[in-house]
Every structure is written in C-alpha cells, then in structure tokens.
Symmetry: C2
Subunit: 297 residues, 2 copies
C-alpha cells in the first residue's frame, strides 16, 4: 500500500468513528452518507446530520481527489504534466444551543507527482458566547497534543490560527482560535511519519472534546435574545468562510462539489445594520474577547 493510500484509508475510518461518537453524544440525530465522484479523478463521502437533538447541522466530510495540478500551483513543479493527490477530513458542526460553540476541524495530506508532499490542518472553536473556561480546556488539550510531538508546535500553530481565523473587515477573530498549520513536510529531526502521527492525533481530538462540550452546555438555559445573537454570530461565520477561507474559495473556484464545500454554512443566520451590543452585556464581553494573541491557558 502506498503511503497516500494508507493516509486516505485512515482518514476514511476517522470520518466514520467521529460520526459514531457524535451520534452517541447527540442522542438522536443520524449522519447520512453520500458517496460522490469527481469527473477529473477521485471523490469522497459526505456525511451530514440535520436536526439532531443537540446538533442543528453538521458535516463530517471525507475526500480523496486527484488529477492535473491546478493552474495556480504549476509554478511549483518542473513537469508541466504534473498531477496531485489530496485527501482529508473536514468538519463543521453547528449546535442548536447558542451556549455551545461552533467547531471546525480539518486534516489533510497533499502529494504531487514530483514527490513533494505535506500535511495541513487545523481545529478552531467559535463560541457564540465566549466561556474562558471552555476556551482554556480546548487550548490546554490542544497544547498537550502538540507538546507530545514538538515543543514549538503549540506556540507556532496557535499564532497561525489567530492570524488565519480572522475577519479583517470586522476586526474580529472568528472565535477563540485553536491551531492551524500547512505544508508540514519533513524537516531536520522530524520525519514524515512523525508529522503523520501528529496529524492523526489532531484528527482524534475533536470528537471526545466536543462530545463533552455538547453534554456540558445542554443544560444551560437561553432565550430569544441569545438565539438572535447566535444568528448574528453565524452571519460572521458565513462572512469568514465565503470571503476568506482558502479551502472554501479554492473549492468553489476549481469546480469542487458545492454541497460538500458549503455544508459549513449555518442552518440559519442573520444580519442587522450596524448592530452593537450594549456595554456590560454578555454579547459585548464576547466581542471584547474576539482578538488575536489572547493566552487562553
């Protein structure tokens, strides 16, 4: 088995195990399963849950696609007929409760026919209401995963997430960040297999963490005010994904599978003109915490 096939098979099994865990945490919703293929090569499996007990909408997407290298990457290889292979798992979960955050995770592997290859990925949390305690738990767990593999990972990848998950036109981070990394290749003292071990652990972090969070937040009360705020925050999520997210834009521009790409869109979102929360409210407190460079731990 080629390394790329091994990675792809592991991602495919990760997708299913995450769906099993999330179905158990939700208690009622079930993930559907849509296999799709891509005319240019490869395909994927879209697993989507709608109207669960705790999850309003969630996508756990696997793909393994291949073909001619996209035009914008051709400068990176000598061979004009170079091909690529890309495989990964992408997740976005939108809970019913505004007291529970949106979560996103992506792990991916990219390989070109000239032998260049790398891993990328990230995981970030987008609370509608920032809980410093939950942010601390989230980051503490991520730091532990990072530290097992390299003492510089957490600091580096946490900053990368702050910079990546940022909405310039709002001057807000998308949420409380997490980690983000791209083009992780072999390096002096770090083998490809060591990178792969790290990526696998990142992929396994979401399900237990978020299952706990779903349980913990399920009993928190909220009303119409909190729902309206949730819709506005989801509007920001839409803005980030459609305007800035590289995966979304790359997918839409290269004739990707639209329904898989846009499964990240929230079930419902809203916009109000020039809305500013009143001072001293929980909403204003949340806005004040959507900044880069906060040490959550």
């Amino acid at each position: 088995m080629q390394f790329s096939e091994e990675v792809s098979a592991w991602f495919r099994s990760l997708q299913d195990s995450i769906c099993v865990s999330l179905e158990a945490a939700d208690g009622s919703g079930k993930f559907g399963s849509d296999a799709w293929s891509r005319p240019e090569g490869g395909g994927g499996v879209a697993r989507v849950l709608e109207k669960g007990a705790l999850l309003e909408k969630g996508g756990v997407m696997y793909s393994a696609v291949s073909g001619e290298l996209p035009a914008f990457m051709k400068g990176e290889v000598k061979d004009k007929n170079a091909t690529f292979y890309a495989t990964g798992v992408s997740i976005v979960l939108h809970p019913h409760s505004p007291m529970c955050p949106i979560i996103h995770m992506n792990v991916r592997y990219f390989e070109m026919s000239d032998g260049q290859c790398w891993f990328g990925g990230g995981i970030d949390l987008t609370p509608h209401y920032v809980s410093r305690e939950d942010a601390k738990t989230f980051h503490t767990g991520l730091k532990a995963v990072c530290d097992k593999h390299n003492p510089s990972y957490y600091v580096e990848f946490k900053k990368w997430a702050d910079d990546y998950f940022f909405i310039p036109h709002r001057n807000e981070t998308r949420g409380v960040g997490g980690i983000f990394f791209d083009r992780l290749t072999e390096a002096p003292g770090i083998s490809k297999l060591q990178r792969w071990d790290f990526v696998k652990e990142v992929g396994q972090y979401l399900a237990p963490f978020y299952s706990d969070l779903l349980k913990k937040t399920a009993s928190l009360k909220y009303g119409e005010n909190e729902k309206q705020w949730q819709y506005l925050r989801r509007g920001r999520y839409v803005e980030f994904n459609l305007v800035y997210d590289k995966g979304t834009r790359f997918g839409l521009e290269t004739n990707g599978r639209t329904e898989s790409i846009l499964v990240s869109m929230p079930p419902a979102a809203s916009w109000r003109y020039d809305h500013t929360p009143e001072r001293g409210t929980a909403e204003a407190e949340t806005l004040s915490l959507l900044k880069k460079g906060i040490s959550w731990i």
Copy 2:
C-alpha cells in the same frame, strides 16, 4: 461647479427622493440616516430601513469618496501620484413577503486625476418565486429606458447582467437579471452628457417600479413553506455577494465602510444540505428559470 460635483449632488438628491418614495410605498417603515466620513477622503450617507410593513430591510446608500488610486488600478495611469473620485448610489431591498422579489440598483461615476472618467451601474431583480409577468414588466421598462438613449443598450446591457449576476458554483443566475454596464465613456456620436442622461434615468427607474411591485404582491398569500424557500434563496444572495460581487469584494479589501457594504445582506437566510425542490413545484419552476439568455419581454 465641477461636473463631478454636479453628479454627486444629483446622486445625493436621488438617494433622498428614493427614500421618500419607498417610505410612502411601505406605509410604515422609515429610513434612518447615518453620515460617515472616510479617513482617506470623502464619505457618504447610509440610509437604512429595518422592520417596515412591507420591507424587512433596505439600504439606500450614497457615497462620494476620493484619494490615492487603489494599487490594482495604478497600471492605468502614468502619474504615480494619481488620485480618484468616485460617487454613487447603491440600493438593496429585502421585502418581508417571499412573493415579492429582492431588488438591487447601483449607479456610479468614477474619475481619475488624469482626466479619464466613466459611468457604471446596473439594476437587477431577484424573485424568490419567478413571475414571468413581473419579469416582463421589469425588462420592458428597462428596455424603454435604454431605447430612449441608444438602440444597442438594452441588448448589450441585458447580456452583461446575465453574465455578471451569475453564481457559477450553483450554475444559477441570481434572479431574472436586468441591465449592467461599466466604464461607459464618451464614444463616437455619444457624449459624456448623453451617458449621464442615461444613468440618471436608470437611477430613477427603481422607485416607481418597485413601489408598484410592493403594492401588487402585498395581497399575495404565503405560508411557512414559502418563507423557508425565501430564506434559502436569500442564502444564494449571500453567496453571490460575498463570493463574486466586485463592489462588495473591492469594498471589503480596500477597508471600505463594512456596515455600508454589507447592508446588502438579508435580515435572515438559511442553508440546507443538498436541497432540491420536488418536480412540478413552484420552487422547481423558479430554479428552471434561473438561466442566462431568457428573453423576458
């Protein structure tokens, strides 16, 4: 008075007259008025109505901004210190009723310090449910405006709108189109003032047309099914504006006034995974009509 000042003053008065007309048509909602200025030069007036009787959210925006030419346009002039002046009116109206279309209009004038100048603009209609009759009325009126000024305008600008107001990743037009034009300069046999006369008439087209449509559609009944479909269609409107609309992207990338740019966002929108209306429904009929090249007249 310089020509640019004359254009700007006319646009400013157009903004107010449109607000007066729309308030009368709505019967209850009132447009607020927020003046804003831009650190680099100029500013504008944002007039926004929320929660009217017929209009759920509407923005009628005027601006007149100036400053150093944006980086991406510097190739067009010899002088490295070239400046620009841009003025215009932009409108997006989201009605409560799914039986009434969203409407958009923009008229603008752009001038550079080396003397180059042009007009741009457009107006297009985005029904949640396509009515061939309303589309015909809309296009017939636009054709009359165009024909008064140039026999080639309607055919040319209608095609331009079909191509511009298009969502490639959905393979759908945004709605039933209208007209779109850009960089209208003097041409053999067409003076700048003749272009300006045309643009003024385009600017005046929206208010009476849409007031009639608000009245006509106000009595049409609808239920929860139609509201849900409206939210999904508004989701498409969000996708077009954030992914493709040049004005929106230019504004966000050049540090424009975010609240003015994103006033085009709907008050509420939704997304469902892989939703396809059943055959024979009004929703399926609408989708079948969101194509380029339809002769509505």
